[in-house]
Amino acid sequence: MIPALETRNLTKRFGSFVATSDVSLSVRPGARHALIGPNGAGKTTLINLLTGVFAANSGQILLGGEDITALPAHARVRRGLSRTFQINQLFADMTPLDSVMLAIGEREGHGRLGWRPLSADRVVADEAAALLERFRLADVMGSATTLLPYGKQRLLEIALAIATRPRVLLLDEPAAGVPEEERHEVLGIVRDLPADVTVVLIEHDMDLVFSFADRISVLVGGALFAEGTVAEISGDARVKAIYLGEDA
């Protein structure tokens, strides 16, 4: 079976600092794959390499078997690789409706110069409304994004990624910074993501990782340290010592 997402000997250096060191990772289609590791282990750098924010120094990235190493970020999205950000990257004074309309419209190729007003895009508007409702954002679709509670902003962050209809979705700490009372809403959305979407999750919250993931990769110092099922990783003494030991 062709992996949904694969890296081969991926390496990224910043000066003499090796942020990602020879990482070879394989994620099978439909997986719920968690990426864990202590702070500074290079998790977000890896996501940035995968999505084309940074260019790798060496190695390859394959999406569904296709080499996307040299493609710019937007071209990777068009091929079905989407992400959310650890720190919200939203359009502050645009409404959730406009933001989601944008994401869906771009997916459908409506964003090139045209004469038709946004409101004439009924199919896109209907899909946007349905998506906003699913993400519990329907009641705030018309207000500026900055005015939303943080939990709602996190939901919008995920909604925008889903709107691009990804084959592989990279979630960078989706519940980070969300207050306790809004947390279950975000986690519920993450759990209910469509089964055919391959999800790679970066997370610090071990309860979430163990309840969500079917496979876990552990990064330490930019390199892949261990990989296995939830049971294997949670029973691995070395992982416990290096990583879980911090929390315990």
């Binding site: 950000f85 359009f91 409404t95 419209g105 964003g111 946004l118 349905a130 329907a138 500026a144």
Partner: protein, 347 residues
């Protein structure tokens, strides 16, 4: 919306329609502009000047207010349009509308060719490259005196009646009506552009390029397109100046023109199309008034006003449209204030 809470899709459709609707103040503004023909028949020349400056500012707003590209060389397109229209009238066709389209096309080609210079880099590099392009063009005009008249300007531009029907008159009435129609047409087209999915993508690129790329948007192509369109409109503004004055001065390419139009946008506010028009009205009247009361120091006062505007806070001063009754921005500002108040109460 009335009565029952609408289903999300109906609510979305209503919100989208509301954002695109012509607002009262917009309609009022155009009625006033048309009424000026009858109300102030002796001020046609300054009104024409305002309309041309407004057109240039609207075109700058497309790239500055929507795509977030700062330019200190927008006069390049204005001047190129002015000279194109002048030379076209002198050596080819004297009919103004043809000349207007020709000038727009020439300027647009130049805009397309130079758009690649503004794709990369910071605001500062963009300021410098656009400034450099305008200086280069000004020097080319200066050195090709055999064609452009050099420092003396291009004279002997003949302008025949518009479409062969409407003759330019001594009081500038035809000139104002002509300029106003072009301004209206450009604002109407620009309105369609910024309210389209393409316009939305420009706003997104300006606000958060990182996220825009992560939605599959290739920013470069979008910027090239809007830069070219803005160049076409700026070229048309230049053509209007040539055709309403029958003369092209090297001043059309001067640095101060690029700076003035930027100032106009600062005064009027960027990012809602009408800032250029309101700014042009305020700027021109202010300059006229100051140059009458203090002919030698008017630049001093303009400078002082600029500083005050920036210090008092652009956000508040330049969102004129928010103060107008019946504006969506006004409603939005109220909703924002109410939400903030509610958040304070909750805390």
């Amino acid at each position: 919306m009335s009565g029952e809470p609408a289903a999300p899709s109906g609510q979305a459709a209503a919100l989208l329609r509301r954002a695109e609707r012509w607002q009262l103040w917009e309609i009022a503004l155009w009625i006033i502009a048309v009424a000026m023909i009858f109300v102030m028949p002796s001020h046609m020349l300054i009104l024409t000047e305002i309309a041309i400056l407004a057109l240039l500012a609207v075109s700058l707003d497309l790239i500055l207010g929507y795509a977030g590209i700062v330019s200190l060389g927008h006069a390049a397109f204005f001047g190129l349009g002015a000279y194109s229209a002048g030379l076209f009238a002198k050596f080819a066709i004297t009919e103004p509308v043809t000349g207007l389209l020709f000038a727009g096309a020439v300027s647009g080609v130049f805009g397309l060719a130079t758009s690649f210079l503004v794709l990369r880099g910071s605001d500062l590099t963009r300021l410098m490259t656009t400034f450099g392009v305008a200086m280069l063009l000004a020097e080319v005009v200066n050195q090709t005196g055999w064609l452009t008249g050099g420092a003396d300007g291009l004279s002997g531009v003949t302008v025949t009646p518009i479409l062969g029907l409407f003759e330019f008159d001594l009081w500038g009435r035809t000139g104002y009506i002509y300029s106003l129609i072009v301004l209206m047409a450009v604002v109407f087209i620009s309105r369609r552009i910024v309210n389209s999915p393409y316009g939305l993508s420009l706003k997104a690129i300006k606000r958060n390029p990182t996220r825009a790329a992560m939605l599959g948007i290739s920013p470069n192509r979008r910027i090239v397109v809007i830069y070219t369109i803005a160049a076409v409109f700026a070229g048309m503004a230049g053509a209007l100046l040539t055709q309403t004055t029958s003369f092209v001065s090297p001043d059309a390419l001067a640095f101060h023109r690029s700076a003035d139009v930027l100032l106009v946008l600062v005064i009027g506010g960027a990012g809602y199309l009408y800032g250029g028009i309101l700014g042009a009205v305020i700027f021109t009247i202010l300059r006229d008034w100051l140059s009458v009361i203090t002919p030698q120091y008017w630049m001093f006062w303009i400078g002082l006003i600029l500083i005050v505007i920036v210090m008092v806070g652009r956000e508040r001063v330049t969102r004129w449209q928010a103060l107008l009754p019946g504006s969506a921005a006004n409603r939005e500002a109220k909703a924002r204030a109410a939400a903030l108040a509610a958040a304070r109460d909750a805390a």
